[in-house]
C-alpha cells in the first residue's frame, strides 16, 4: 500500500501497464517530452521511450482513429484527451467506428480513452465539461468515473484489460485534492457501484467528484443516516446496487456535475421510476448543473455547479417530505 493522490494513482496504473504488457501504448498531445498537460505521464518517456509514450499530432479524431486501427491488430492503446472537452473532435471515430465495431463485425476494439473532465477552477466552456452521457448513449462503449485514488488505479487497470472501448472519466478537480491508500501492483476494480457511506434514511447517488461533495454535505445532517452510493461505472450501470439503496433508504437524491438533461443521473432516476417506485417514500430529487455551458467567471461557475450547500439543502427538504 502507498498513499497516492488521484493523479499519482492514474500515473501508477499507466506505468504498471506499460511495464507488464508490451501491447500497451500511450497516445496523446504533449504527453511525451512535456509529460502531459496535467503531468500524468511526467518522466514516462525516459523509461518507455517515445514510441510507447507517443506525442501525437494535434488531431483528436486521428488519435482515436489510429488507436482503433492499432487495437484491432493487437495493441492496447490508451489515448489521452488533453481535456475531455476535446473528445468532440474525436466523437465520430469513437461512436461510429469504435462503438459499433463489435456489434457489426464481431471485432473487438480494446482502447481506453482518458478524459480529464469537470469544472470548478475557471476552465470556462471548453475545459470544464462532463461529457460522460454522450457516450452512455452510444451502445458499445463502457464509461467509468472513479472518485478515489484506489478506484482511479483499479478502474484504469480494468479499462485497459477490457476488450471494449472504455471512456475513463478522470476528474481534474480530484487530481491533487484527493489522496488515499492504494494497493501495490496491478488489480482490477469491478464495474460495480461502491457504498461510500452506508445509511438508512436517505441515499445520495452520484459519482466522480460529486461523491466528495455528497459526503461532505451529509456528514452531519441533523443526525440523519445518509447513504452515499458511488456509481463508479456508468456503463455498465450497477442497477442492483441502485435499487438496493432505494429499498434501504426509500428517499433518493441524485447528484450530477454534468448538465441535467439526459445526464447519467437522469438514467438513474428513470431506473428508479421503472423498478424502484414501490420502495419510494418521496419524489426522486436531482441536483445537477443547469443546461448552460460552464461559465468562466468564479461567481458564475459557482452559481451553476452543484456544491455542498445545494446538496445539503436538497437532502434536508427530502428528509422533511
Amino acid at each position: 500500500m502507498a498513499a497516492l493522490t488521484y493523479l499519482q494513482a492514474i500515473s501508477a496504473a499507466l506505468r504498471d501497464e506499460l511495464r507488464s504488457d508490451e501491447r500497451v501504448l500511450l497516445m496523446g498531445e504533449d504527453i511525451g517530452v512535456f509529460g502531459g498537460a496535467f503531468k500524468v505521464t511526467d518522466g514516462f518517456i525516459d523509461e518507455f521511450g517515445g514510441d510507447r509514450v507517443m506525442d501525437t499530432p494535434l488531431a483528436e479524431s486521428a488519435i482515436i482513429g489510429t488507436a482503433i486501427g492499432a487495437a484491432v491488430v493487437g495493441m492496447r492503446p490508451v489515448c489521452e484527451m488533453q481535456f475531455a472537452d476535446f473528445i468532440s473532435c474525436g466523437f465520430d471515430q469513437l461512436v461510429n467506428v469504435a462503438a459499433k465495431m463489435h456489434y457489426r463485425q464481431g471485432l473487438a476494439v480494446p482502447i481506453t480513452v482518458r478524459l480529464p473532465s469537470g469544472g470548478g477552477f475557471s476552465g470556462g466552456p471548453f475545459h470544464s465539461q462532463n461529457p460522460e452521457a454522450w457516450f452512455m448513449h452510444a451502445p458499445g462503449i463502457k464509461v467509468v468515473a472513479p472518485s478515489t485514488a484506489e478506484d482511479a488505479k483499479g478502474l484504469l487497470h480494468t479499462a485497459i484489460h477490457d476488450p471494449n472501448p472504455v471512456c475513463f472519466m478522470e476528474h481534474k478537480h480530484l487530481y491533487r485534492r484527493i489522496k488515499g491508500e492504494v494497493p501495490d501492483g496491478i488489480f482490477e476494480t469491478p464495474l460495480t457501484a461502491r457504498v461510500a457511506r452506508p445509511g438508512s434514511d436517505l441515499a445520495v447517488i452520484t459519482y466522480g467528484a460529486m461523491v466528495h461533495v455528497a459526503l461532505e454535505a451529509t456528514d452531519d445532517l441533523d443526525g440523519a443516516s445518509v447513504e452515499v452510493l458511488d456509481l463508479r461505472s456508468l456503463v455498465p450501470l450497477d442497477e442492483a446496487a441502485i435499487l438496493d439503496s432505494v429499498a434501504r433508504c426509500s428517499k433518493v437524491v441524485i447528484v450530477d456535475e454534468a448538465n441535467a438533461t439526459c445526464a447519467a443521473g437522469a438514467q438513474v432516476a428513470a431506473l428508479i421510476a421503472e423498478r424502484g417506485f414501490e420502495d419510494l417514500d418521496g419524489p426522486v430529487v436531482r441536483v445537477a448543473t443547469p443546461n448552460v455551458p460552464i461559465p468562466f467567471s468564479p461567481p458564475l461557475e459557482q452559481a451553476v455547479l452543484p456544491n455542498v450547500e445545494r446538496v445539503r439543502e436538497a437532502c434536508r427538504e427530502l428528509l422533511a417530505y
Binding site: 479524431s61 482515436i64 482513429g65 489510429t66 484491432v72 463502457k142
Partner: protein, 357 residues
C-alpha cells in the same frame, strides 16, 4: 512524381507484366467478373424486394479494388469501401455470404447487423467501412502505426472516394501517416462524382497533388486498367514494407451507375457515360486475355453458375434471428485481433515474407 494525366497505363502495364503470370491475369478478370455478376444479381434481388434498404454497386470501377487488393499479402490489412467488392472476393469472402449480407441473412458477414457492402470479414484481415467515408483512413493508419512500432514487414491499405478528400479525417490520416512515415497505401477512388457532386465542386487542387504536401508521393493510375492498378499497389506495398512510407494512389475511374439504386444519375452528361463505357475495365482485360487464347466464354459461364448457386444458397438461408438483435454490442470474451486473408497472387508463392519478428 505527381502525375495529373491518366495516360500512364502503358508504362504500368509493362511493369505489371513483369510480376503477373497468366494465372494471375485470369484471377484479376475473375475477381472483376464475380464482382460485376454478384452486384448485377443483387440489383435484381433488390428490385424484387429481396434486398432491404438500398443498394450500392461499383459497376465500372471493378479494376480499382481487384487490382489493388491483389497486391496485398495475407498478413496485410484492408479497410474496404462500398464500391470495392472485388477486394472482399480476393480476400476470400464467398459469394453466398455476400448475397446473404445484402439480404440481411444469418450467414451474411455481419449476420444482419449491417447492410450492403458495410462489412469486413475480420478473420480475413478486413475491417468493414462506416458511412462516414474517410474514417477508415485513420483506422488503416493506426494499423500501419502498430506494424511499424512492432517492426513487422506488412502494410495496411484503404480505399476512399473523391468526396472523402473534403473531410478532416482525410487530412488527419495523410498528415499522421506522413509524420510517422507509416506503411500504409491510400487508394483514392476518383470516380468523378460524390453522389451528385462533381469534382470541380469538391476541390480546387487535385488531391493526388496534395500527397507531396504531406511528405510522401502520389501517383495517378488509370483506374480502369486492372493490371496498372495492381502494379501501382505492388510498388506502393514494396515501398511501405521497406520503410519508404505511405503512398497515395489516385485511381481515375467513373461511377457508371447512380450513387445507389434509387439514383437515375440525371446530373451526369450522357456523353460522359458513353465515353467511359468504351473504357470498361472488364472488356479491356478480356481482350488482353482473349488474344492470349484464354477461354473467356468458358470463364464467364463458370462464374455465372457460381453466382446462380450462391444466390440460391443465400435465398435458402434463414433471416437474421430477431431474438439476438439486442446481443453483441460488447465483446465478452478475449479480444481477437484480425486474421490473415487469402492472397492469390502467384508472387507470394515464391516470396519468403517474414512478417512478425
Amino acid at each position: 512524381m505527381v502525375a495529373t494525366e491518366t495516360a500512364e497505363s502503358a508504362a504500368g502495364e509493362s511493369g505489371a507484366l513483369a510480376h503477373l503470370a497468366l494465372e494471375d491475369r485470369i484471377w484479376l478478370l475473375r475477381a472483376m467478373l464475380l464482382m460485376r455478376g454478384i452486384e448485377d444479381r443483387a440489383m435484381t434481388l433488390y428490385r424484387q424486394g429481396r434486398v432491404p434498404g438500398s443498394f450500392y454497386d461499383g459497376f465500372g470501377q471493378e479494376a480499382v479494388s481487384a487490382g489493388a487488393a491483389f497486391a496485398m499479402a495475407p498478413e496485410d490489412r484492408l479497410c474496404i469501401l462500398h464500391r470495392d467488392l472485388a477486394a472482399h472476393i480476393i480476400r476470400g469472402v464467398t459469394p453466398a455470404r455476400i448475397f446473404a449480407q445484402y439480404m440481411g441473412r444469418e450467414i451474411g458477414v455481419t449476420r444482419g447487423r449491417d447492410g450492403n457492402v458495410h462489412f469486413g470479414d475480420r478473420t480475413l484481415g478486413c475491417v468493414g467501412m462506416v458511412s462516414m467515408l474517410p474514417d477508415m483512413m485513420l483506422v488503416a493508419t493506426g494499423m500501419a502505426m502498430a506494424f511499424k512500432l512492432r517492426g513487422e514487414r506488412r502494410c495496411a491499405m484503404t480505399w476512399f472516394g473523391d468526396g472523402s478528400t473534403s473531410r478532416g479525417d482525410f487530412h488527419e490520416a495523410m498528415n499522421w501517416a506522413g509524420v510517422q512515415k507509416l506503411p500504409v497505401v491510400f487508394v483514392l477512388e476518383n470516380n468523378q462524382y460524390a453522389y451528385s457532386t462533381p469534382l470541380d465542386k469538391q476541390f480546387a487542387v487535385n488531391p493526388v497533388a496534395r500527397a507531396a504536401a504531406y511528405g510522401f508521393g502520389g501517383v495517378t493510375v488509370d483506374g480502369n486498367d486492372v493490371e496498372a492498378m495492381f502494379e501501382a499497389a505492388r510498388e506502393a506495398r514494396e515501398r511501405a514494407i521497406s520503410g519508404g512510407g505511405p503512398t497515395l494512389i489516385e485511381a481515375v475511374t467513373m461511377r457508371m451507375h447512380g450513387h445507389a439504386a434509387h439514383d437515375d444519375m440525371k446530373y451526369v452528361p450522357k456523353e460522359q457515360v458513353e465515353e467511359w463505357r468504351k473504357r470498361d475495365p472488364i472488356e479491356r482485360q478480356e481482350s488482353r486475355l482473349r488474344a492470349l487464347g484464354v477461354d473467356i466464354d468458358g470463364l464467364r459461364s463458370a462464374i455465372r453458375a457460381e453466382i446462380d448457386a450462391a444466390a440460391e444458397e443465400a435465398l435458402a438461408a434463414p433471416m437474421a434471428d430477431p431474438s439476438t438483435a439486442a446481443e453483441g454490442a460488447f465483446c465478452t470474451g478475449p479480444a481477437e485481433p484480425l486474421g490473415d486473408g487469402l492472397a492469390p497472387w502467384s508472387g507470394f508463392n515464391s516470396l519468403a515474407t517474414p512478417v512478425v519478428s
